[in-house]
Amino acid sequence: MKQLIRRSKLSLFVVCLLSVASLATSARAAPLRVVTTMPCYADIAKRVGGNRVTAEALVKGYQDPHFLRPKPSLANKLKNADLLVSTGLDLELWLPSLIDLSRNPEIRSGQRRYVSASQGVTLLEIPTVKSRVNGGVHLFGNPRICTSPINAKVIARNIATGLIKVDPRSEETYRKNLHLFAEEIDRRLYGKRLIEILGARILNRMVTNPDRLVAFLEEKQYKGKPLIEYLGGWLKKGLPLRGRKIVGYHKNWAYFNHLFGLKMVNYLEPRPAIPPTPKHIEQVIEQMRQEKISVVVAANYFPEDRVRLVAERVGATAVIVSMDVGGMPKVTNYFEYIDHLLDALLNVFANQG
């Protein structure tokens, strides 16, 4: 009997020792340093990685990601990166030379510590004629994938896959966080009630064609009321935007427009990344008058006065938005970013009546 007690005490002691040791090692392991190109990837990486990672973006939310002035600190960040997340398309053309400079071969595209955020995203605006004659065309499709929260879930999945590859011991945490993030996006996109009624799986399948989803919600009934009345979240908030015509500055709105049904009928740039020319501006102004378009929207890194000038010509309103997380002081995370885009547009239409 005594022996038995002693033995059990001993085993208890061993268990205690082991657990303390494991606690100590997990506490000692420094958080992974995730470096991303776009701020929205960094915010998503923080959510998926939780306290296991630190995430930092190379591009600021108020900068044009096409152009980044090379600075020594950027190369240093890449040198110390445990994981690099970039769009993986032809947006950040400055990145390869920066990686060369960093001497961190493992974060090169295709290597172990590299994540392509756009993997698995259904790309829009894929050009049929691949030529630079049409301006700064993106050959693979529009690279501003963060503008749709549906893509945010795909990006989160890609980041989680990368984190698990680099840090397999925390796999469970990453999977749990990924699940929570996807749930949060769903809740903010459709509203809690509609998910209860329809199920997130079905909604997510149907949202690949947002117009059809909305038509479905309007047509189908639940307990005597059309489903659309149970809709909440961003989609509900964005309903007044569906079918509205607006003019943009640069072609970086594809995924937002697709989800919220906005019709961006023209851009101030005659061709992507080619500055506005007099004749083209004249055409845009003419079109806005004819089609009674009352909103011009632009990211805050484009020349604001030009946008306002064109808008004033036709009595329209210029909407200047933050095109990513951190582009304006009030846009501190991804959810606020989507809120910000919606609010900015909705406010104008509300004020115009």
Partner: protein, 474 residues
């Protein structure tokens, strides 16, 4: 339509050009005489540095505070330039001017790099935005330039003397350094305003080209001014028109047109002032022929090197023309496809996915009774409830027991209240009676309510309905 044409769009730009021509053609003459060609670039950059540092202290770049800031910096620049004009001139003043430009530009980049829109801001300083100029800006510029012009007119004796014959000015006891300071000061005020709208490039040609052209033609100031003004006006007019009709960026078009104008005038003068005209004309012809020859040669080289790329382009064209024929083939395959749909579950599912209920019914209606196994197979292979319901409903028409069992299976597997509701409504429609099932909860948890439904299932012939994963017909 409203009168939104060339006038509405280009008139402000043209007015701004005229205002710029007025003062810059005059100041350009001074600049040429003093041999300080790049002083405008340097002063513009110093002004930009002022704006940028103002921005660092929280002043918006286009506010009055920022303008005052840039003026203050311009004063410092003017002071530097008037102090560094040395009598002996061991170090040419152009060196100081270049240095000031480089330092100011570097500091601007250092500061701007930490601020939003940094890169755009720097680009703007170079190219300007004359197309976007506003009437308030033009009026302000006109007033300020007028003031500077008046100042120069009143003290024309001193200004012309120190620009033309500085040695004589020193000899006469004129305070050269003081008047130099006033010159650069007024110059800086003009530059810091004009660069904001026209950009460094445009301001530079406005300053230099009319002055050079006029100096080539005559030595008398009043004629030089007249020539400079008329050339400036003409070039602005044609340059902006070219920009409009050719859809080209306005600032650079005017700049290039100025260059063309200068070459044409120079060539004309070369022939006109030559001792023997025929010889000069001959030289001109040879020169033009040589230029044309070089052009042709360059074209040939470019064409030769570009050949391979063109070939690729042609090959791509061939591919696209092939794909454009595809839809026609597709149509002819359609009837064949229908047959395939009938005996292949995955083909049927592909055909049903993303269709409206009516379309689904039509597709299912084209399937005859002999292919019922395909239907059941398709039912098991999909998890899309709407396809499941359509297929089960179709099976029900031919085989009540099997259809009812499949519908019950859909009801049990339903993942959300809405799908339970949809399934129940199909069942109720087919049964012709209401079952009052609580769709908020899974069917298995409100089993007492399911009695009447089970009775109906038994009646159709579907017996093994108690199975958790759906029923099965006997």
């Amino acid at each position: 339509m409203d009168d939104l044409g060339i006038l509405d769009l280009m008139l402000p730009a043209f007015a701004e050009c005229l205002v710029l021509v007025g003062i810059h053609s005059y100041l350009g003459l001074h600049v040429i005489r003093r041999k300080v060609i790049f002083v405008d670039l340097a002063l513009a950059q110093v002004a930009a540095l002022g704006t940028t540092i103002g921005f660092l202290f929280g002043m918006a770049p286009d506010s009055t505070a920022a303008l005052i800031f840039s003026m203050l910096f311009t004063f410092v620049g003017a002071a530097i330039f008037s102090i560094t004009r040395l009598r002996g001139e061991k170090v040419p003043q152009e060196a100081v001017i270049g240095l000031v430009y480089a330092l100011a530009a570097a500091v601007v980049i250092l500061i701007v790099d930490r601020a939003p829109h940094g890169a755009e801001h720097i680009k703007e300083v170079m190219t300007g935005a004359i197309l976007w100029v506003q009437w308030e800006t033009i009026v302000l510029a006109a007033v300020v330039y007028g003031g500077v012009g008046l100042f120069h007119y009143v003290f024309r004796r001193q200004f012309l003397l120190i620009s033309d014959r500085p040695e004589q000015a020193y000899a006469q006891g004129v305070k050269v350094r003081l008047w130099d300071f006033f010159f650069y000061l007024s110059f800086g005020v003009v530059i810091s305003i004009s660069v904001q709208t026209a950009g460094v490039l445009l301001v530079f040609v406005f300053l230099v080209v009319p002055a050079i052209t006029a100096t080539l033609i005559t030595d008398r100031l009043i004629f030089q001014l007249a020539i400079g003004w008329s050339i400036g006006t003409l070039v602005s007019l044609f340059g902006l028109a070219l920009s409009y009709f050719g859809d080209m960026p306005s600032g650079p078009t005017v700049v290039s047109f100025y260059g063309v104008m200068l070459v044409v005038v120079a060539l004309f003068l070369f022939v006109f002032k030559a001792p023997t005209r025929t010889k000069a004309l001959l030289k001109l012809a040879v020169g033009l022929a040589a230029t044309a020859g070089i052009g042709v040669a360059l074209f040939a080289i470019g064409h030769g090197l570009g050949q391979s790329r063109l070939a690729v382009g042609r090959a791509q064209k061939a591919v696209t023309s092939q794909t454009s024929q595809l839809p026609a083939q597709f149509d002819s395959q359609k009837s064949e496809q229908k047959v395939q749909v009938l005996n292949n579950a995955s083909g049927l599912l592909r055909a049903l996915t993303g269709k409206t209920e009516e379309q689904q019914e039509e597709i299912l209606g084209s399937i005859d009774a002999t292919h019922r196994d395909v239907l059941a197979d398709a039912f098991q292979k999909t998890d899309d409830y709407s396809i499941r319901l359509a297929v089960a409903r179709h099976i029900f028409v031919h085989d009540r027991a099997r259809g009812a069992c499949l519908l019950y299976e859909t009801l049990l597997a339903a993942e959300s209240p809405f799908i339970r509701g949809e399934t129940i409504s199909v069942i109720e429609e087919l049964a012709g009676q209401a079952f009052e099932i609580n769709i908020e909860k899974p069917v298995s948890t409100n089993s007492e309510k399911v009695t009447s439904l089970k009775a109906w299932l038994a009646e159709t012939g579907c017996r093994r309905f108690d199975l958790k994963r759906g029923g099965e017909s006997p």
